[in-house]
Symmetry: C2
Subunit: 377 residues, 2 copies
């Protein structure tokens, strides 16, 4: 499969690298830029699949590592694949779990062959190879598979970044060789924030012949400036026709900056995690809904939002949080996901209508006026 079988760019910004396009996948076409809600364990926390669809999401992210551990990919395959399992009939991308395994701290051991770790589910010793991770995702039947990779944290030395990037490329080659189905396999380019490593990472990944490029290992604590620098390094040498997925990013401002640099796909836990803990994005700023200033506030969270979350008042949602009602986290998760979808829908529209630069400035200006980024709980 070539990038052009998968991805068509229909509009480009004349100044920067922002573009609008379409990803053609077995379970449907995804307009880009696209934001993927995170449904790690085959569930976006607190939302039914109808509600996820109602946020406007056209593609969902799940996690192959978590699903292999529980309930197991064989079970999901027997039950008709991940789409049927979770009753979601639009495209799904699964992350490989590299990031999760290497976040287990001292509980993993890695060499060129494989990574072994203690299962957080039952404590059993497990080994993942690049081949095994492809096999899992083939069993799940997802639209886009991600290869096993070795990310690095932050701070990080250039040598370790290069080492991890090269091992990730070696693993990607094994993943490409192991793949038995027509499912799409993206490559993950590592390299932290180092110019040479990023350039080499992207080049080596594309040499493997994958039709899509994921930029991994960013937004791990280096801050937005360095993150964008790393992204610039990663994309500078990349041909324009590849769909680009910036993994695990980010805040609304991060998304806008990254779209401006040619990124097409995102995933992030922020909208749902912040929603569960009582934070809401709105066109007027970020609300901490438990704050007593909202006690008597009859307004919806955001007049621009059409969701069920905004057919009730801020006072009601605050009441739900103060009373410990599950509906509060669900409504704010919906709301924040809808906010993110409106953000990427607006970006796409702006690119198509040749107003991208204005749109970008408006969003960034709004974020600046709001005066603070959402503090992660």
């Amino acid at each position: 499969m070539t990038p052009s079988d998968l991805f068509t760019i229909s509009h480009r910004d004349s100044l920067g690298r922002a573009r609008a396009g379409m990803l053609r996948l077995p379970h449907g076409t995804v307009p880009t830029p696209a934001f993927m809600p995170v449904g790690t364990h085959a569930s976006v926390k607190g939302l039914t699949s109808d509600q996820i669809a109602a946020t406007g999401a056209s593609i969902l992210l799940c996690n192959a590592f978590h699903l292999a551990l529980r309930p197991g990919e064989d079970l999901v395959r027997e039950l008709g694949g991940l789409h049927r399992f979770m009753n979601w009939n639009r495209p799904i991308l699964t992350d490989s779990g590299g990031y999760q395994i290497f976040s287990l701290g001292k509980l993993f051991e890695v060499d060129d062959e494989s990574v072994s770790f203690q299962s957080p589910v039952d404590g059993k010793r497990l080994t993942f190879t690049p081949e095994r991770v492809v096999e899992i995702q083939e069993a799940l039947g997802v639209d886009i598979m991600m290869p096993l990779d070795q990310p690095v944290g932050w701070p990080c030395e250039e040598d370790s970044a290069r080492f991890a990037m090269r091992r990730s490329v070696a693993w990607l080659k094994r993943a490409v060789a192991a793949k038995k189905t027509s499912q799409v396999l993206f490559g993950i380019a590592q390299g932290s924030v180092f110019h040479d490593v990023r350039r080499e990472g992207t080049a080596l990944v594309l040499e493997t012949g994958v039709p899509g490029l994921a930029v991994g290992g960013l937004a791990v604590g280096e801050g937005q400036d360095l993150m964008l620098k790393g992204l610039d390094f990663a994309l500078r040498g990349a041909p324009a026709q590849y769909p680009v997925y910036l993994m695990g990013v980010g805040t609304p401002a991060d998304l806008v900056e990254a779209i401006d640099r040619g990124v097409d796909m995102f995933d992030c836990v922020l909208p749902t995690r912040n929603g569960r803990t009582g934070w809401a994005w709105t066109s007027e700023g970020v609300l901490r809904i438990r704050n007593s200033v909202f006690r008597e506030d009859a307004r919806p969270l955001d007049p621009r939002c059409e969701g069920p979350c905004c057919r009730v008042s801020r006072a009601y949602i605050r009441h739900l949080f103060i009373s410990g009602e599950m509906l509060g986290p669900s409504l704010l998760s919906f709301h924040n996901l809808r906010y993110y979808q409106r953000l990427v829908e607006g970006a796409r529209e702006a690119i198509i209508e040749k107003k991208w630069h204005l749109y970008k400035m408006q969003i960034l200006d709004r974020v600046k006026r709001i005066g603070r980024r959402v503090v992660q709980p």
Copy 2:
């Protein structure tokens, strides 16, 4: 208001006292028999108001005591009333909170004038009078108000049952006198399971001129046989035209037995509480969804259910519970509420089609075949 302004009986069973009717309320007409989902704090746990409506509920129960404590009835009134507050536009009945206050154990003090108690929200000493409880519900703007009453627990002496029943009637008279709006106020007849006290309780309540009769103080541990005996005593002398609400009841078998005795309205936490803890009612029996027998079960919870809960497999819902995903409790709450609504819809249809006796036998037989009642967590 007379009972006939409020309630029309359209069909009666020829053998027993079962009947189908319509309750006409400001926010809509409620077909009876009716089951009211419990939304204590202005939220049915884990469900949006659209989802509650999709279960088929045509009337909802909230709790005046809890809402007065938090967020406060004045706030709810300022925000347009309880319907607007929670975005539910069908009828609402509020329980007064008598049951909740007298469940606070030694934390309350009661005399003929009022009951005072320590707020479970902030520890403040509060006093509720019958007048105050009407005032709260007038501020909430609900369709049906319940008066402050004094229930008794189980076991209980006949003298204390009589004493509490008479005090509840005295309080009801004060509630009737205090009422300033055209909202409907039901009377609550207490009397535990004692023949003479129940007869007197019902007679005294109806003498106050209220248009609806609630039977309180049952299903508090006395068991189904005694509960039904108490209900028989309470209803034997009651004229047929009053809508009858059996408070806090019960299991599917309880509902069928009570409908057979002339009850029109029910509320109970069982479907949602059991749903949250992993129990599902189905036409084939009661499922404990965490049970490993459901690990690979591709079937829906119940082939007779049309809800979103039954567009996924038992295996998927089990996975959600095992993984601690909020969606599991939400889906099972929806499912069990839909089960209860199907039960009362079926009862209504059977009464209308003159098949009530058959329907009743089928449900009771099914419950018996299933061989066990759901154990409350």
